[in-house]
Amino acid sequence: MKTTKIALSILVFATLLSACTKPLKFKGEYVDPKLVVNCIAVPGEPIKAVVYKSDFVFDTITDYTMPEGTQAFLFVNGVSKGEMQVNADTTYYNYLNPPIFTVNYHFTHDYVPQIGDVVKISVTAPGFDEIEGSSEPLPNEPIGSYEDARITKWDTTSSRGYRVPVPDSDSTITVWLKEYRKHLTVTIEITDPNPGVLDLYCLEASMRTEGDWTYPDGLEHHEQPAELHQVYFNDPIIGTSTVELEDQFGIDVGLTNRSRSTFNDATFDGGSYRMEIPMVTNTLFKANDSINAFVEIKLRHLTEGAYNYYTTITSGNNLSQYYSEPVGVYSNVQNGFGLVAGSNDKVISFPVW
């Protein structure tokens, strides 16, 4: 009996020690990087193509920087328009906090594409396979009209304490801010520009603010962005979804956070469709701050490639990714990755305060 007791005690002890989930490491197969080109051509706007290189997903250092000696060439409707010019700009990774600023390269060309153009871009770099991607004919402008942005409620709802960092210090303070919440119902009407053709769309909503403000204790803060807090899609065409549009920067135009932004005109082909979009905005200002805020609705008429890209990239970022097959985000670039596609955008902007 004593032996049994000892054995049972050991078993219980062993369970307590080991009853946890432990990640284990093992190596995957290394795959060489490839060139990446991303370009969404818009009729009437100069072409801009951003070029990177891909990384093996388990590389210890993430570096998407374009290789030295990279060249990009533009072809329109099968005719070469020559080499594109390289430019550098500063961008940052928005998913890191604090964000990492980096120099990235994009290529431009003087040619301004027109509706119906087929845009092809090829990219070469020493030590890499040549890549190329081609768009479908660039679409015409989506016929959409902004009918109404009805502010259904506008409150200084509450005061709340928020902990904010003190500049040049590791400490934080609690400040009391007024929380403004505004409910909007935006009505837009979309008219099919191409009867008999399946047109593909993407609807985006964003919000931006202009101006300066200060915390109650005098700490200055500039251009504190507002939040477009929620957009409710409860629409027979787009579907039903409550989309939270927030990130650490407080604003998000949210392609990555949106689950239902693409749709098509299969159900209103040749006709019009009226859509009501309820939104909730949140912001934290003192009442006397001089802030201007705008809501921007962007209706995008997409080529098939762009439509496939936005559809798959939103699928890949849904919350249930651990319960679904992994997403193959659409890419139409041969021998590499990325997207060469087109869109024609209509922007509807209006002030909310």
Binding site: V12, N38, D89, N94, S158, V253, E325
Partner: protein
């Protein structure tokens, strides 16, 4: 096909030519409990003719007039001999006594059903004693996990009770409880099955060569039979384990006429979690109410009414639910400035209900009828509500309330009427035929949402219903076990099924065939062929069994899945030592369903047809089973070499660029050894060791930035697009090898009113970290990306106490 039907009719007609024969029929049952014995053998030692009892313990043997010497045998029981002069049809009900000396558990319950001389191949019977003796996860004996140890059968993820038979999917298995299909056979997200061994009498697995009486799934049939109940005396058992307790009672209501069997199982993990909630509430005074729990239960009940010698009525019932609930209420006040009140509620429940009323009638000594009406239901209900109230006292007086409630329901209901006949005109023919009709009612999902915000003008109160679906399924079958001579036996059959749904009509004639030829003493060669179809699919693509997994019928766009399976093998009985079975199979599957990249059915089936692709699959393999069924040491060794592939290259339904890829649970090697040894009547041990190739997973190899996003913020300009993970091939990565050792011990002691048993089991004895999923994670120290496997079950000892009375 055109030649097969006339051939069958000719066989039936030829039966009338028999003359001067009489039929011996009756039931074979346990002498003590009057429980009928399934698969007991009856052999006339004079003529060498024999038969076996059916699922209701009934047998029928037609022999020439004259002296007969019958031997009734069943493993674990003393044989019964009856010699007499057969001059007329004779009814003999045999009561067999359990033989203590031969009570060692066996894999193979009886030679008549699964032995070398039986034409049926790819069939394995698992006695309940065997299932109960296998070491278990958390002390819960589990039918499906025992089946997973057999060659040709694989589990899904670590610890899962899912079945993947011969390269098929988890929805391709017909799981029958007393002949009635069960849709969701899992508890606790698939880690336990709904089959409570205490309530069961017999479990039979068919992996191929399916008899014509079965249909509706293409990969396997698991036929589970519940105990009928002791006609003589009351007895039962109860057990207390780590996660659940069980109680089983059976006995006569009217002796020798009416009996009952009742089994209940319930887990009590919710008691622990509620205790945890109580501690949390004590620790945080702002929490006003905290309850959180999960439990599952099973209730099996059966009534067995012997109306007369010719008529029996069975009423069986099963219900089982899983439930997760959480109720939390917070009250928080900040000085005298404001106060928050928040209430959250969650009620998540899913489960099955199965009921069957069955009438057995002996129409003539040679003709047995089994008529039944049954109902099966699976439903899933999810309810969530949230209530938030904000009160501001200073500087303004203000109150707002936000209320939100969401409910989700889905389910499937089947109502079935079915009649089966068992006709045994002579020892050379054992014919079964019958038909049935099932009304299916699918409710894929009903979702309601109610939002009521104080500050909102337009609140939401909607009900969305994807639309109920009504479907009708009918089937007819005929099969004959034919003994061509002493050495060659075959089972030939036809199964016809039809399915009507939403204006679409599908039907298919499915031939079935299996045979055995004794080419040497104790050695037979076997072959089988089966054509199967199924009209429903399970929408699920998670690693575990989720209650949100939805069954949906075929549609105009999604055609029925169909499969051909060919098998060939040999069976060798090494007398008093081993049985050795070697089988090879080749299986093709058409209209296999696979999910498009990025699709998820987590909580919704909306537009499901757009989320799946149809393709084809093929699987082949070799299975070796070496069993020892007698003596103090019993068990088996199983090995499977297998391959299962998929190809999706139809227009608009391309996956993996149209190239073949391995199925998710394709495993090249799968080896298991299961051993029980009885040291004495008071002590026995058992052990299981499994090792198999790892599962497949789709892993990315490349990452790159997506389309840059135009941005308005203090940082200005544009931001690098969200990194995109590039996938090259579906299921391009194989997880590490899986292996695990489980051990169990039983300490038995005879007490005044019964027997008590202490069981100690250790799952994963050497604490192998087997992969459950593989993810792209980050090193905790460096923050750099790395490939990680997540394991969920370390070494898990368990102890249970049971008492039989």
């Amino acid at each position: 096909m055109r030649k097969t039907i006339p051939f069958l009719f000719l066989l039936l007609l030829s039966l009338s030519a028999m003359a001067q024969k009489h039929c011996i029929s009756g039931y074979v049952m346990d002498a003590a409990s009057r429980e009928t014995l399934i698969g007991a053998t009856i052999l006339d030692r004079n003529s060498g003719q024999g038969c076996a009892t059916n699922n209701y313990g009934y047998y029928s043997l037609t022999l020439d007039e004259g002296p007969v010497d019958l031997q009734f045998s069943f493993v674990g029981y003393d044989a019964v001999n009856q010699a007499f002069n057969l001059v007329a049809d004779t009814l003999i009900t045999v009561k067999m006594s359990s033989n203590i000396q031969l009570q060692e558990v066996t894999v193979e319950a009886n030679r008549a059903t699964v032995g070398a001389n039986n034409p049926q191949m790819s069939i394995i019977e698992l006695p309940i004693k065997q299932i109960k003796s296998i070491p278990t996860l958390m002390g819960e004996a589990d039918v499906l996990k025992a089946i997973q140890l057999l060659p040709g059968v694989q589990n899904g993820s670590e610890g899962s009770a899912g079945l993947y038979v011969r390269g098929g999917g988890p929805d391709e298995n017909l799981l029958l409880m007393d002949g009635v299909p069960l849709y969701n056979v899992n508890h606790m997200f698939g880690f336990f099955s709904v089959f409570n061994p205490d309530a069961l009498k017999n479990v039979t697995l068919y992996k191929g060569g399916f008899p014509a009486r079965y249909g509706g799934r293409i990969s396997s049939v698991v036929d589970v039979r519940m105990k009928d109940g002791d006609m003589q005396k009351y007895h039962g058992n109860f057990s207390i384990g780590l996660i659940s307790s069980k109680l089983n009672l059976e006995g006569p209501i009217v002796k020798d006429k009416l009996s009952f069997n009742l089994s209940v199982r319930r887990t009590y993990s919710d008691a622990l979690t509620n205790l945890y909630g109580l501690i949390g509430k004590l620790a945080d005074p702002s929490i006003d109410k905290f309850s959180l729990g999960y439990y599952f239960y099973d209730l099996n009940a059966k009534l067995n009414w012997k109306i007369s010698d010719k008529d029996r009525l069975y009423l069986s019932w099963y219900s089982g639910d899983d439930k997760i609930y959480a109720n939390v209420k917070w009250d928080y006040a900040y000085e005298d400035m404001y106060a928050d009140h928040e209430k959250l509620g969650l009620n998540w429940k899913w489960g099955n209900k199965v009921g069957a009323l069955r009438w057995n009638h002996i129409m003539s000594p040679q003709l047995f009828m089994d008529a039944s009406v049954s109902y099966t239901q699976y439903r899933h209900d999810l309810g969530m509500d949230q209530n938030y109230t904000y009160e501001e006292f200073k500087p303004n007086t203000y109150t707002s309330t936000d209320e939100m409630a969401m409910n989700f329901h889905s389910g499937i209901h089947d109502l079935t009427a079915r009649t089966d006949f068992h006709y045994a005109p002579n020892p050379r023919h054992d014919i079964r035929f019958g038909g049935g009709y099932t009304y299916h009612f699918f409710r894929p999902e009903v979702q309601s949402m109610k939002i009521n915000f104080t500050e909102a003008e337009a609140n939401t109160d909607t009900v969305a219903n994807t639309g109920d679906v009504h479907a009708h399924e009918a089937m007819l079958y005929v099969e004959d076990n034919i003994a061509l001579n002493e050495a060659v036996k075959m089972n030939v059959g036809l199964h016809y099924s039809a399915f009507a749904v939403q204006g679409n009509f599908y039907h298919l004639l499915q031939p079935r065939f299996s045979m055995s030829a004794m080419v040497a003493p104790h050695f037979s060669l076997k072959a089988g062929y089966a054509y199967m179809t199924q009209y429903i699919h399970l929408l699920s693509n998670s690693n575990i069994t989720m209650p949100t997994d939805l069954w949906v019928p075929v549609t105009a766009r999604i055609a029925p899945e169909r499969g051909h399976q060919f098998s060939l093998g040999g069976f060798y009985e090494l007398p008093n030592l081993f049985d050795i079975s070697l089988e090879g199979y080749y299986k093709t599957m058409d209209n296999v369903l696979e999910y498009k990249d990025g699709t998820s059915f987590f909580g919704t089936s909306q537009g499901w047809e757009d989320k799946v692709n149809l393709g084809r699959g093929w699987a082949y393999g070799v299975e070796l089973l070496v069993q020892r069924s007698f003596g103090k040491t019993t068990g088996w060794v199983g090995y499977t070499w297998a391959r299962s592939m998929r190809k999706f290259d139809r227009e608009g339904m391309v996956i993996n660029n149209g190239n073949p890829f391995p199925a998710k649970y394709d495993r090249r090697h799968d080896f298991s050894i299961t051993v029980q040894h009885k040291f004495s009547d008071r002590f026995d041990i058992s052990g299981t060791w499994v090792i198999s190739s790892g599962n497949c997973a789709t892993l990315s190899t490349q990452a790159y930035p997506g389309i840059p996003i135009t941005y308005y913020s203090q940082y200005g300009g544009s931001v690098v697009g969200t990194p995109i993970i590039g996938y090259v091939e579906r299921n391009n990565f194989r997880m590490p090898v899986y292996h695990r050792l489980d051990l169990g011990m039983n300490f038995r002691k005879q007490k005044k009113h019964g027997e008590r048993v202490w069981n100690i089991s250790v799952y994963n004895v050497y604490n192998r970290q087997n992969p459950f999923i593989v993810i792209r994670g980050y090193d905790q120290n460096t923050g750099l990306p790395e490939l990680q496997q997540v394991s969920i079950f370390p070494i898990i000892p368990s102890v249970s106490y049971s008492y039989k009375f």
